[in-house]
Symmetry: D2
Subunit: 231 residues, 4 copies
C-alpha cells in the first residue's frame, strides 16, 4: 500500500500487513463538532480549514461501516460549571493560541456540555460509538478511549479530524505509547495551516505509524475482506 | 519575558507570571543518554544533532540547581528480556524511522536495561531525580513522572533534551493534558532536522505552553528569587 | 475528632488536621442509582442494604453544600451497544457474584446509558458535579475523576455510597494511590453484608485513611469554617 | 476446578475455562521483600505472617516456570531522596497503621531504593520480570505493569504475596478494572490477620475473580498443556 514518509510516497510492500487487518481496526474521528466548524462568528474555537473534510469524512465512514469497521467519534466536552476548564485550571491554548490568531471572542463557550458547540457536524450512525470526556487535547486522557478499544479488541486505529498538529497528533502519540498501531488518514485531517499540517504528518510518519490516503485504506480493507492477496 | 510564538519573539508582559514561579517549577531533561548521543557507529538510535546541547544543558542545570529548582532526568529503559519492546509489541519507530534515514544497524540494542546505551551523557547531581521506566516516547506513560511531580507539588515544567518533534513534544502534550504549565527551553532541544524542530516548537507555542530561551528563564527565576519585580 | 480504627473509636487529637480543611475537600457519592437501589424485581444489580442511606446521604449533602463543599456523584454507565461490558469483555462480577447470591435476572440491563437504571436516587443539586464514565468498579479508572479533582484543587475526599466492600473500597484504594487524603463516612456506606462492610471499613482505617461518622465531619468542618479551634 | 466463593468450596465446571489458559496467564508476586519479611526488629513494615509462604511461593513459581508461565515480581521502591513518599506526600499507612499496631520504629526506611529492605526474599529466576516503581499500594499505578502485561499479551493474572487485604486486594481491583481476569492463589497470600485475610478473599471471590488453591491451578495448567480435557 502507498504511504507517505515525510511527505514522499512510499510503497510498503507487505511490511506493514499487521496494520491493515480490518477485523482489528477502528476509525477514530476527532472533534468534528460545531465548536470548531460552525461558520458563525460565535464559533468558540474556529478551525475553518476542516470544514472541507466534513463530507469526505462522512463518505469514508459510510464505506468503513460497510466493511464492518467501528467508528468512534471523540469530542471535547467540559462540564457546564466550567470547573474542569475555565473555572478550574484553564487550558493553555486559551492563552497561547490568541497570541498567534488574535482574540477569540467566544472561546469561553468552547465545549460546554449541552451547548450546540458540542454537536457533531459529521454524521453519527446508530452503531457508532462516542467518547465525550475529552477535556483538553488528548483523546485518551482523561477519557475511556483506551478502555473502549480494549473491549473492542482493536489493535489498529485510523485517525481523522482536526487539528492535525494538535489533537490528531496528540492522539497519535498517545495511541502509539499504548501499543496501538496508528494510521493517520492524510486527506481527512486538517491542521492550523499547511506548514504545521505537513510537519505533523511527517512526525507521525517517522515516529508513530503510517500516513495514508483514505481511498487506499478502503481499497486495502476491501481486498482483505474479500480474501484476496494484497496487490 | 521574551517567548517565541510560532518562531517570532513576543514579550509576555506579566500575562504568564504564573508560569514563572521557581518554587513551583521543575526542569525535566529527556533522553540525553548514550543510546542517542554516543558518537560510535553502534549507537542504537542516533540523534547526533543533540550532542551540541550537552554542555549547554549541563550549564543550565547547574544554574537551575543553584536557584533551588529540582532537575529530573527521564531516560528510556526497556527490560533485558526485550519483553516490553522488541520481544513484545515492538515500538513503531523501529519500523518507520528507517524508511526515512535508512537501516539503523544496532537499533535492537536501544535502551536495554543495564547496557551502556542507557547511561546519561549529561551530568547527574546527587540531588537530581531520575525517571527510568520510559518505554516508548512518552515521559509520562507508563512512568511515575506525574506521581513524582505531584509529590513535589510542581505546577510548571521546563523541558529540554531530544527529539523536539518526538519525545519532547510528546512530553509537552502529556504535561499539558495533566494541567501542568509547560515551557520548552528553545535553545536546549534538538529535533530530527531544522524543519521539524521549528514546527514542533511552533506547535508548543500555539497549543501547549511557552517556548523561551534558557537564559531568559534563568534571569526571570533569579529576579523572582531575589524578590525583585519582573522587568 | 473521633475516627474508627478497625472498628474501635479513637480520638485523633490534632494529628489529622490536614484531612479536615473544608476548603480542600470534596464529597464523592458512589453509585446511588436505581440500578442498585430500585425496589423492583427488575433491578439489575440489587444493593438493597443501601436504600436506608438515601435520606441520610441527602441530608449530609445538603449540609456539606451549605458549608461550601462540592458534591460529586459518580455513577456507572456503559454504552448502549454494550461494547464496553457485556458485548466486549464482560465485568467479572456478572459471573462471580451470582455464585453467592444466585442468578441476577436482569443483570444485562445494569448501567445501560439512557436507561432508568442509571438515574440517581439521591438528590442532585444544580451545583453538583457528575462523573459518569465509571465502567467497572473504580471511580477513577477509566473516568476523569482525578482530572476533575485536580482542577478543583481538592486534596481530601469523603466517600459515601455503595458497596463498602466493592466500589467504595476500590475508590479508597485509587484515591490513596493518587495521594488524596481519604475519609469514608462510616454511617453513609453499605456493604454486601455486615461482615464485609466492617472488614472493608477496617481495611480503610488501617491502610488508606480515616473512617468517621458524617455528623462528626460536619461538626468539624463547621468549627473550622467559623475559625474556631478544633475541640 | 475448585474455587472458593466467600470461603466455601465450589466446583466451577467449565464455566471459567477462559481463566485457565496457561498461554495467556502470568503469575504476579507482590512485595515479598525484606522490608516486610525480615525478622530483624529494624524491619520497616513488618508482615511476619507472610514469612511462612516464602517457600511455598518459591515452589509454585518453579512449577509455573516449568509450565512456561512468566513470573513477575512487583516490589515497592521509593527514591532515595524520599521525595515520592516521606519527603513528598507521605503514604497514609504511615499514619494510620500505627494506630492499630503501635509505633513502627523504622518505617521511614521502608522501600528506600538501594537499601536491603527492597531485596526480594523469594527466588528470582533469570527469566522472571521485575516491576519496581510501586510507590504506594497499587501494583498498577504508577507502575508500568499494565504496559508490560499488554506486551506479553497476558489476559489472566494469578496473584500471590502480601497483604491480602491491602496490596493484593488493590492489585485485584486494578487488574479487574483493566479487564484482566484475576485469580488469587488462596494459600499463597497472607493478610493483616485471619479475619481481614478471609474478608479480602471473600471480596475477590464475589466481585473480582477467582480464589483458588495453587496446587489446583498447577494441576489445571498441566492438564491443559498436555492437551487433556479438564477433569
Amino acid at each position: 500500500m502507498r504511504i507517505y514518509v515525510y511527505g514522499k510516497p512510499h510503497d510498503t510492500g507487505d511490511k506493514f500487513d499487521d496494520y491493515l487487518d480490518p477485523a482489528k481496526t477502528a476509525v477514530i474521528s476527532i472533534d468534528m463538532h460545531r465548536g470548531h466548524l460552525d461558520p458563525s462568528p460565535e464559533c468558540p474555537c474556529p478551525a475553518p480549514r476542516a470544514r472541507e473534510i466534513v463530507a469526505p469524512i462522512d463518505a469514508f465512514h459510510t464505506q468503513a461501516r460497510a466493511l464492518g469497521l467501528p467508528i468512534i467519534h471523540v469530542r471535547s466536552v467540559v462540564r457546564r460549571s466550567g470547573v474542569d476548564d475555565i473555572n478550574g485550571i484553564p487550558a493553555a491554548w486559551r492563552r497561547t493560541f490568541p497570541l498567534h490568531v488574535g482574540p477569540i471572542p467566544n472561546s469561553d463557550g468552547h465545549a460546554i456540555e449541552g451547548s450546540p458547540w458540542t454537536e457533531l457536524v459529521t454524521k453519527v450512525a446508530p452503531e457508532d460509538e462516542i467518547v465525550e470526556t475529552k477535556r483538553r487535547l488528548s483523546a485518551f486522557y482523561p477519557t475511556d478511549l483506551d478502555f473502549l478499544l480494549r473491549n473492542m479488541r482493536v489493535e489498529t486505529i485510523v485517525l481523522n479530524g482536526g487539528f492535525t498538529d494538535c489533537c490528531v497528533l496528540n492522539a497519535s502519540f498517545d495511541a502509539n505509547n499504548r501499543n496501538y498501531r496508528v494510521i493517520v488518514a492524510r486527506d481527512l485531517v486538517r491542521g492550523t495551516d499547511d506548514n504545521l499540517e505537513a510537519a505533523a504528518l511527517a512526525m507521525v510518519s517517522l515516529h508513530l505509524g503510517l500516513v495514508a490516503d483514505s481511498a487506499d485504506l478502503l481499497a486495502e480493507w476491501s481486498r482483505r475482506k474479500a480474501g484476496r492477496k494484497v496487490a
